[in-house]
């Protein structure tokens, strides 16, 4: 018994310290993993279109129009808190053939008495469709500035890629307009 006690007394603090250091590394690894999830998630999303982000611009040259198929495209708009604008699509839905280029106008009006800069952020649902929604020209590519009381027609030129999966018949494009503080 005495010898056991002796051994414990001498050896324990050291081996405790080693174990604590190992465990602290584990904590660090978990923290790194947590932050690594951010780029991992973003890569995963841009490869799969998981979160409906549509930052891809189009190249028109090799698209063929698929006359045998019709896809409904719906538009919604949201003005985020802090932006004193009216903002809405001129038409709520449109039916297109895949590959067919269309233009839809959005109307924006600054209802405040100050110049305001905004940025529109698009999102497509269902998420899988976002890879096949191609924008040729969009007001969301740049910041938009409106003078007090100014209205502006904001065009969006787009097409839906013919390789859109067959089971998707309706694609909804939603814009959230945020204010950009300068």
């Amino acid at each position: 018994m005495a010898s056991v006690n002796q051994r414990e007394k001498n050896s324990q603090p050291k081996s405790n310290k080693k174990l604590v250091i190992r465990l602290l590394w584990l904590v660090v690894a978990a923290a790194v993993f947590g932050f690594a999830l951010v780029p991992l998630y973003n890569v995963l999303c841009s490869v799969t279109g998981l979160n409906g982000k549509t930052n891809n611009t189009a190249d028109l040259s090799k698209t063929v129009v698929d006359k045998n198929r019709l896809v409904t495209v719906e538009f919604t708009s949201t003005v985020m808190p802090g932006l004193g604008w009216d903002f809405y699509p001129q038409q709520n839905r449109i039916t297109v053939h895949p590959g067919q280029v269309e233009t839809v106008n959005f109307l924006a009006k600054n209802v405040t008495n100050q110049p305001v800069v905004g940025q529109a952020v698009p999102s497509v649902s269902p998420g899988q469709a976002s890879l096949y929604f191609k924008k040729i020209e969009c007001f969301c590519f740049q910041h938009q500035e409106l003078k007090p009381g100014e209205s502006k027609v904001m065009p969006l030129r787009f097409y839906v890629s013919p390789s859109l999966p067959q089971n998707i018949g309706t694609v909804t494009l939603s814009y959230a307009f945020y204010s950009v503080n300068k």
Binding site: L19, F33, Y41
Partner: protein, 531 residues
């Protein structure tokens, strides 16, 4: 556990500080365990008062008592307090008190760290609740109002309450990680000679899994709320869609922690509950090995199923299927545990002292929690049940019945050991029956409200829900008031009562029962040998 132990203990006459300084500076595992448990009880009552405010508002349709903003704050802070300041500290309190006694160690491995771990909690609790008070003086707009889940973008836009809650989470996180490191080192390095891993009490195993889960997930939560903080104040855009961020990312980060968290608060209970069951059945625990493997299986699976909390955000079908099946697969090891618990009491010579009443009630009620979880794990069904009162009822069957009532079983089981006095059985039984009945009356109606479509976290509701909400609110007040019996029973047990024997319960087994009740301030200064 069928180990025999020989115990020697010398009676030291160490002089330690008295009064407040004793508690501020103590490194004694029993003192620290007591502080954790007392803190937990106080927070349990505080969180309870908050939710009674909510139930009072929900007594009738319409807005009567509180403003919707305040209602949201009450709900969020209630949950944060109950999970982080009541359940987790209670489990850590038991770990401090009982782990060294159960494995024959003189103290926790890192006593000073242990003291810091505890003293981070009161400041965290103050941070969580202070914004309520500040709002009274016109500073800020109250506590965090996002619910306990901090979802962006609401949490990015929220007031100073969010910042306070973020710092509280940081403190709580550091405290939990310190506590976990201490538990792991204690269990791995300080066991009595002869106590191999496979001879450890189940409570030690369950805490080992818990501690590893905490170390794996708390840093991710801390990271997530830190990103939230920098989004709020330092111009980053992790979760802010305006800057190219993604609010859904927050949900992934949060639930990567959040799902394991629900097991973190329950695993310690799964550890000591079989010990209680075997004590009052007077036969050995059934399926020791199966239980150990199941605990690990659940711990590991818990890390890979998180997205079942947001099936409805628009995931692709393969992801939905993966998270559905992996979630459902957790019920397999959980079913093994249930089987072992029932087999442990099967054909035993049962007696129904208060701890046993709580243990049996716990098996039944926690079972309902698990089964309703299985319903929610079904993607198709969850589309309807998500964010309704069905979910609320589900997680109260797991967290209140499975967690709090489990902890209460533990309190009644070990209180005579800790204080040296028996509590009042009569009051204990009364407390059990009032709690069990009013708990069911509070939450069974909520299952039906959820099925009928009543959304959670909304202060007002459609007329069709009125009767069931009224029942639920009345029962909730009975449930709350019944806890005063618990408090009274504990206080009078600390103050005096029939002297407890060393063994306390006829069928009790394990090293903690070989010591006197209460155990000497320094126990096992010479380690017992386990054969």
């Amino acid at each position: 556990m069928s180990s025999q132990a020989t115990v020697h203990h010398d009676h030291h006459d160490d002089h330690h500080p008295t009064g407040i300084m004793r508690w501020l500076t103590t490194t004694n595992h029993k003192d620290i365990g007591t502080m954790y448990l007392v803190f937990s009880l106080i927070m349990f009552l505080l969180g309870g008062i908050m939710i009674l405010g909510v139930r009072a508002e929900l007594f009738q349709p319409g807005l009567q008592l509180v403003k919707p903003e305040f209602f949201n704050q009450l709900i969020g802070v209630h949950a944060l307090i109950m999970i982080f300041a009541a359940l987790m500290p209670a489990a850590t309190g038991f770990a401090n008190w009982m782990l060294p006694l159960q494995i024959g160690a003189p103290d926790m491995a890192l006593p000073r760290l242990n003291n810091w771990g505890f003293w981070l909690l009161p400041p965290a609790a103050i941070l969580l609740t202070l914004p309520f008070t500040l709002a009274l003086f016109g500073i800020g707009d109250g506590a965090i109002a996002t619910g306990w889940t901090f979802y962006a973008p609401l949490s990015v836009q929220g007031g100073i309450g969010v910042d306070f809650a973020i710092f509280a989470v940081h403190l709580l996180g550091v405290s939990s990680v310190l506590g976990s490191i201490n538990v792991i080192v204690t269990i791995l390095n300080m066991r009595a000679p002869g106590m191999t891993l496979m001879k450890m009490p189940m409570f030690a195993w369950s805490w080992l899994v818990t501690a590893f889960l905490l170390i794996a997930t708390i840093p991710v939560l801390a990271g997530a709320v830190t990103m939230l903080l920098t989004d709020r104040h330092f111009g980053t855009h992790f979760f802010d869609a305006a800057g190219g961020g993604d609010p859904i990312l927050f949900q992934h980060l949060f639930w990567f922690f959040g799902h394991p968290e629900v097991y973190i608060v329950l695993l310690p209970v799964w550890g000591f509950m079989p010990q209680i069951l075997q004590t009052f059945s007077r036969k050995p625990m059934y399926g020791y090995k199966a239980q150990v493997y199941s605990l690990w299986a659940i711990g590991i699976l818990a890390l890979v199923v998180w997205a079942h909390h947001f099936f409805t955000v628009g995931m692709p079908v393969p992801a939905l299927l993966y998270f559905m099946y992996s979630t459902m697969s957790i019920s397999l090891p959980l079913a093994v545990l249930f089987f072992c618990w029932i087999a442990t009491i099967w054909k035993g010579s049962l007696t129904f002292e208060t701890p046993m009443l709580f243990a049996i009630g716990w098996i039944v009620l926690f079972g309902i929690g698990g089964l309703t979880g299985l319903v929610l794990a079904d993607v198709a069904a969850d589309a309807q049940y998500h964010h309704t009162y069905f979910v609320v009822a589900h997680f109260h069957y797991t967290l209140f019945a499975g967690g709090i009532m489990g902890i209460m079983a533990g309190v009644y089981y070990w209180l005579p050991k800790m204080t040296g006095h028996m509590f009042s059985e009569r009051l204990g039984k009364l407390h059990f029956w009032l709690t069990a009945i009013s708990f069911n009356l509070t939450f069974i109606p909520q299952f039906f409200l959820g099925l009928a479509g009543m959304p959670r976290r909304i202060p007002d509701y459609a007329l069709q829900f009125a009767e069931f909400n009224m029942i639920s609110s009345c029962a909730a007040f009975v449930l709350g008031l019944s806890q005063l019996i618990f408090v009274y029973n504990i206080i009078s047990c600390v103050r005096g009562g029939k002297k407890a024997t060393n063994k306390v319960w006829e069928g009790a087994e394990g090293l903690e029962w070989t010591l006197s009740s209460p155990p000497p301030y320094h126990s096992f200064t010479e380690q017992p040998v386990v054969k």
